[in-house]
């Protein structure tokens, strides 16, 4: 149902070095390009502005931390960057594609080939093996079962989860579940990995392990956008932006 996208069919090495990717012209344009983005919610008769004009550019291969307290609008920002939501005003281009012009199916396709999500609460499919969980994004790209399983196994092995392939989420620790989630996020070889408080539910050791895996992906050329309120985690990113009351502050 989903035609193979260039990113999926070009079959680059699992973690591709940034310099060798095709489309050098597109590479010079920012991967994420937000201009004057606003997002308002209609709550009964009151309009609440969660984002009040955000300009943000993220280059290919960057590791950006978006930092802000709860209620600052960083979750709304993440939803928009992750193509789960559309801005009410302003423009957003992801990998050159104007997001506002896409319908729901178009957004789903763009997410499928461009973004890998890592959530605070892992969001793995329950009663489903680690292998099947990691293979799920490939299912919606129309990849054959055999290839799905191969690629999912490779991704899990790359995260040191090779001996937990058939385990269900309920049989894994938090850190292990988050590593499965990271494997699921990069199994499609997306340009962008969007991590929302990935260490929020983890103890220090597991959190450090998960952060190390994200840095590993970054060193191999992935663009990482990390949403967090943890200053310590944010400091290890290449660049930080702070969100306060729906605006970016230096």
């Amino acid at each position: 149902m989903i035609e193979p996208t260039p990113a999926a069919s070009a079959d680059p090495p699992p973690i591709m070095p940034s310099g060798e990717a095709p489309g050098a012209a597109a590479m010079r344009a920012p991967l994420i390009d937000l201009r004057g983005v606003r997002r308002a919610y209609q709550l009964s008769k009151v309009t609440v502005e969660a984002l009040r004009g955000v300009d943000l550019q993220v280059r290919h291969g960057e590791f950006l931390a978006i930092v802000g307290p709860s209620g600052s609008g960083k979750t709304t920002l993440m939803n928009i960057i992750g193509c789960l939501d559309r801005p009410t005003a302003g423009t957003y281009r992801l990998a050159g594609t104007p997001v506002a012009e896409l319908d729901d199916d178009g957004l789903a396709r763009l997410r499928s080939r461009t973004i890998g999500f890592v959530f605070q609460n892992y969001n793995l499919l329950s009663r489903t093996s680690a292998l099947e969980n990691v293979g799920t994004p490939l299912l919606y790209q129309g990849v054959s079962r055999r290839e799905r399983m191969t690629r999912a196994r490779e991704a899990l092995e790359a995260l040191g989860m090779g001996d937990r392939l058939e385990h269900q989420p309920s049989e894994l620790s938090g850190g292990q579940q988050q590593r499965v989630a990271i494997a699921r996020a990069f199994v499609t070889r997306p340009a962008l990995i969007l991590a929302d408080e990935p260490t929020g539910n983890l103890d220090t050791a597991s959190g450090a392990e998960v952060m190390e895996r994200l840095h590993q992906l970054h060193r191999a050329g992935r663009t990482i956008v990390l949403i967090t309120h943890d200053a310590e985690v944010a400091q290890r990113a290449e660049r930080q932006v702070h969100v306060r009351d729906g605006r970016l502050v230096p």
Partner: protein
């Protein structure tokens, strides 16, 4: 996503909650099984009754004197004794008539040694056996010579023979009927009863003997006619009507002093009643299938609610609305079709059992099975679409945050 992937996903999902899946399917299983079984019962009953009716005689026409029931008014049926043995002889000469037997009957007290019984004494001819579709159990039937010379010979029905304590060795014994001695020459094979009328409680004697000894008249109670083939019944009926109107000097448009009934009429009536019954039974059973469908919808709605977060995750990793729709629809369809299949198996087993107990045998009807399966597929899609649409329309942001 291919259909195979969807079915695999549905099966693994249903496999992980087996009890719930089984209970949900039970509604469809019972619905489909009752449709299959009740329709089979209706059809089995029909074919059983039809078979018994056909046992009364092959391509049978019966001419009775007087008119039969018109609406709810019975006009002296049988009271007019207008048919004669000569009428029977004339009918026998018509085309396509295989055999004719006139009947005169009287009640008789039959005594054999210390036993006695009261039964119908039927005066008839050798064609009786053919027309009324009887066969001999012991001895032989009345022959033409016995009829010609009015011999006091008797053939007993199976029940009458039993009442008198007669068996295979009793052929040749003498009984008295209303005081006159008769020799038993044969006993009929039992035929069973239709409704409450036993066709085995009777005694057959030459028609001439009844006329001579009990009822000195040439009038007959009825004339049974066997037509050569079923498709000639209507034409023979018409020519008998013509013939008898001529013989009885009835003007065209006048009221006939006889009536002709044929099996086709009776079979037609039975058929229409029983097909109505079958439709009625099937209709009632369909309601339970409908209830089963509502059960599927109920569980699918609960499932969509429970799996809201899963739907959110699937959408976040690239599932489109139609992928989610297909997933939930295929799940509902898998439930209903699997339930339908098991229901067919159960229904066929139940109808075979009922057929065996009731004695009309088992008729497997592939049309019913296909209709029941098709109907369960329809139920699955009708009741699966709405929950699936609910799932497909979920906003991924809301779904991901759903607790």
């Amino acid at each position: 996503m291919s259909t195979l992937e969807l079915v695999r996903l549905a099966l693994s999902r249903l496999g992980s909650s087996r009890l719930r899946a089984t209970l949900t399917m039970l509604g469809v299983i019972i619905g489909v099984a009752s449709v299959v079984a009740l329709v089979a019962v209706g059809q089995g009953a029909t074919s059983g009754i039809t078979k018994q009716l056909q046992g009364l005689g092959t391509n049978l026409l019966t001419v009775n004197p007087g008119s039969t029931t018109q609406g709810f008014t019975r006009s002296a049926a049988g009271s007019a004794t207008t048919l004669t043995i000569d009428d029977a002889g004339a009918i026998a000469r018509l085309d396509d008539v295989a055999a004719v037997e006139p009947e005169i009957s009287t009640q008789g007290l039959v005594v054999a040694g210390s036993k006695n019984t009261t039964t119908t004494v039927l005066g008839t001819t050798p064609q009786y056996l053919t027309v009324r579709n009887y066969s001999m159990w012991q001895g032989s039937f009345l022959n033409q010579a016995a009829v010609d010379s009015g011999l006091r010979e008797a053939v007993l029905g199976a029940t009458t023979a039993n009442d008198l304590g007669f068996g295979a060795e009793s052929i040749g014994q003498t009984i008295t009927v209303n005081g006159l001695p008769f020799q038993v020459v044969g006993i009929l094979q039992a035929k069973g009863s239709v409704g409450h009328v036993s066709s085995d409680d009777q005694m057959l004697v030459p028609i001439t003997a009844v006329q001579h000894y009990y009822d000195s008249t040439t009038k007959v109670r009825s004339i049974g006619i066997s037509v050569t083939t079923a498709d000639r019944i209507a034409s023979v009926k018409a020519s008998i009507t013509n013939l008898l109107e001529q013989r009885h000097a009835i003007a065209a448009g006048g009221t006939d002093d006889f009536s002709i009934s044929d099996q086709a009429q009776l079979l037609g009536t039975v058929d229409s009643i029983s097909s109505l019954l079958t439709i009625l039974l099937g209709g009632i059973a369909s309601i339970s299938l409908l209830v089963g469908g509502i059960g599927i919808m109920n569980i699918m709605l609960v499932s969509v609610r429970e799996r809201t977060r899963e739907i959110g995750v699937r959408k976040a990793v690239g599932a489109r609305g139609r992928d989610i729709l297909a997933q939930f629809l295929v799940e509902a369809l898998t439930l209903s079709v699997l339930g339908g299949f098991l229901g067919v198996v159960l229904g066929v087993a139940v109808s075979a059992l009922i057929g065996k107990i009731a004695g009309w045998g088992f008729a497997f009807n592939p049309v019913t099975v296909l209709v029941a399966l098709g109907f369960s597929l329809l139920v699955g899609s009708v009741f699966g679409v709405w929950p699936a649409r609910q799932a497909a329309r979920l906003d991924p942001i809301v779904a991901l945050r759903y607790e």
